[in-house]
């Protein structure tokens, strides 16, 4: 009995140490963001800071204008969430509540579309955005619209796949009685189906949010010269300077960029298990 307790304690100790190791980078990020600049640049590496200061946050927000980039990132993410969820919801209705000949083919295409390595598409998308920009400037290069367009498209396949189950779960009888009451199909879908599926949309919106929020490659490719339209990851990268990195600023910016994702992740953690996590990291 005693040896079992001892073993248990040993396993728990190992688990606790691993937990600390896994959390350490994030702890160090927050710590360094709060450390006064002078201490940070003197190379102080104590595991706590006695005089936490918001100096670095203030610097990145007011001097480097990170607030603007934060707002840009939020605009892109919000637009992608709304756009992709709406498109995917209607598509899921078609795929889950109608029987038509090409349905299975479309489902397979949705699955395959999830697997397309979108990173490889940067070059053609760059030229596409340049052409779109000639016609509609706000959707072209150097504008947030270009990022919204591509990420909406990238988020749709997984969102369709996830929403399909929720849409199919709404009983057929409800639809029948809505029609008998004289509702049109569109009324049924928007007034009855939509509110019933809304809880399922929380998860899909989270994935769309993370996709748009974390993007680095497309922001770097599309937003070439318009500094005011940069998003958070690019702004963060601009803090890296060849001679001397402003680590306090980089860490403060990293905290600001990580916290929203952490919150969303915690919200949907239960849904992450079912193999959907595949879409989160790009």
């Amino acid at each position: 009995m005693r040896t079992r307790h001892l073993r248990r304690a040993r396993v728990d100790l190992a688990g606790a140490l691993i937990t600390v190791a896994v959390a350490f980078p994030l702890y160090w990020m927050v710590l360094s963001a709060l450390r006064p600049r002078s201490a940070l640049e003197a190379g102080e590496a104590s595991p706590i800071t006695l005089q936490p200061s918001l100096e670095s946050f203030r610097r990145v927000l007011y001097v480097d204008g990170l607030g603007q980039y934060l707002a840009n990132s939020l605009v892109v993410a919000a637009a992608v969430v709304v756009g992709s969820t709406a498109c995917a919801f209607f598509a899921a209705v078609a795929l889950a509540r109608y029987r038509f000949r090409t349905r299975t083919t479309l489902l397979i295409m949705v699955l395959v579309a999830q697997m397309v390595p979108v990173e490889a598409l940067t070059i053609p998308l760059f030229f596409l955005m340049r052409n779109i920009g000639d016609a509609v400037p706000v959707l072209g290069l150097n504008h947030l619209g270009s990022l919204i367009l591509v990420h909406t498209a990238f988020a749709i396949p997984l969102a369709i796949w996830m929403l399909r189950g929720f849409v199919a779960a709404v009983p057929r009888e409800l639809e029948e009685s809505a029609y008998l009451d004289g509702a049109s199909s569109f009324t049924f879908v928007t007034r009855i189906l939509f509110p019933m599926v809304a809880p399922g949309m929380v998860a899909t919106s989270t994935f769309a949010f993370i996709l748009a929020w974390n993007d680095f490659l497309f922001a770097k490719t599309f937003i070439i010269s318009a500094q005011e339209n940069q998003t958070l990851p690019l702004a963060l990268l601009s803090f890296f300077k060849p001679d001397e990195n402003d680590w306090g600023g980089i860490m403060a910016g990293s905290v600001l960029m990580t916290v929203p994702v952490l919150i969303f992740f915690m919200l949907v953690q239960r849904r992450l298990v079912s193999g959907l996590g595949g879409a989160v990291k790009g």
């Binding site: 248990r8 728990d12 688990g15 606790a16 937990t19 600390v20 896994v22 959390a23 980078p25 994030l26 360094s32 640049e41 498109c87 209607f90 598509a91 209705v93 078609a94 109608y98 038509f100 299975t104 479309l106 395959v112 579309a113 697997m115 397309v116 390595p117 979108v118 490889a120 940067t122 053609p124 998308l125 030229f127 596409l128 909406t152 498209a153 990238f154 749709i156 396949p157 057929r172 029948e176 029609y179 199909s185 929020w213 680095f216 490659l217 963060l236 990268l237 680590w247 990293s254 960029m257 994702v261 952490l262 915690m266 953690q269 992450l272 298990v273 996590g277 595949g278 989160v280 990291k281």
Partner: protein, 311 residues
Amino acid sequence: MSSRTQRPRRATTPRRRGLEPWLYLAPALLVLAAMLAYPLYQLVLVSFYDYRQPQVSGVEPLRFVGLDNYTELFGDSEFWGVLANTIGFAAACVLATLFVGGALAVLATRLSRWVRTALFLSALAAWATPAVTGSAVWLFLFDPSLGPVNQALSGLGLEGFEGHSWTYGKWSAFGLVGAQVVWCSFPFVMVTLYAGIRAIPEEVIEAARLDGASTPRLAVGILLPMLRPAMTVVTIQSIIWDVKIFTQIYIMTSGGGIGGQNLVLNVYAYQKAFASSQYALGSAIGVITTLLLLGITVVYLRSLRRNGEGL
């Protein structure tokens, strides 16, 4: 559903029902066609042309060159080096991720409740960390002079680590990026496998334990075969992520390392296209990456079907 309620609707609006699903599909299909299918077609098309800065600005006309871009790539030793880097780096990351994730999933089943919750929360946080900020934080941890890792190592008397640059050497740079990649991708493996283990009936494990099976034996002999479906999913997903890695390499090795020693396919394609304006060559690399991942995806879909997760 009864046929009685269905008949009148069908009888009244047969044609509208036929068009309706396509109306609902239209927005999604339109966006996907414009932003996914068309660029994919363009990617392949451009890779068969001579397409550099003069052609982009319209000074020189577009010229169809067939497979020239591909033969140029295949004749370039740099390309083979990058391909080897990509495959080797992805393989190492996948193996390490699976090992760490799997080991911790097994460990988690034996932890007290609160330790397990703490482990899962910290893993979830690592998982959620965006690649950009994760890269920045890991770079800082391993900064030559200000990073806590070098400070701790030189504090322990290992003076060689004072001011040591982890990103200077090829392998040490790959090692650092790999550590970051494993850190942010093992949680997916751990959480998925943990759920898989939990789904195994308690009696099976109890019986094996009573028979005197050691933990490694239990893991390899009993858990692993029962976890095969979950293992397939996490393995293929990890392969896909690690083959198409971009952000971590780009940020942590400043765009591919000294003299391009840390280039992987996606970064290579990006540099070819946007740093040296060889858009066609970049597209050809993109096509190769896509084909590589397509092959993996086919294996993935097949295994999903075998596991009975049909459409």
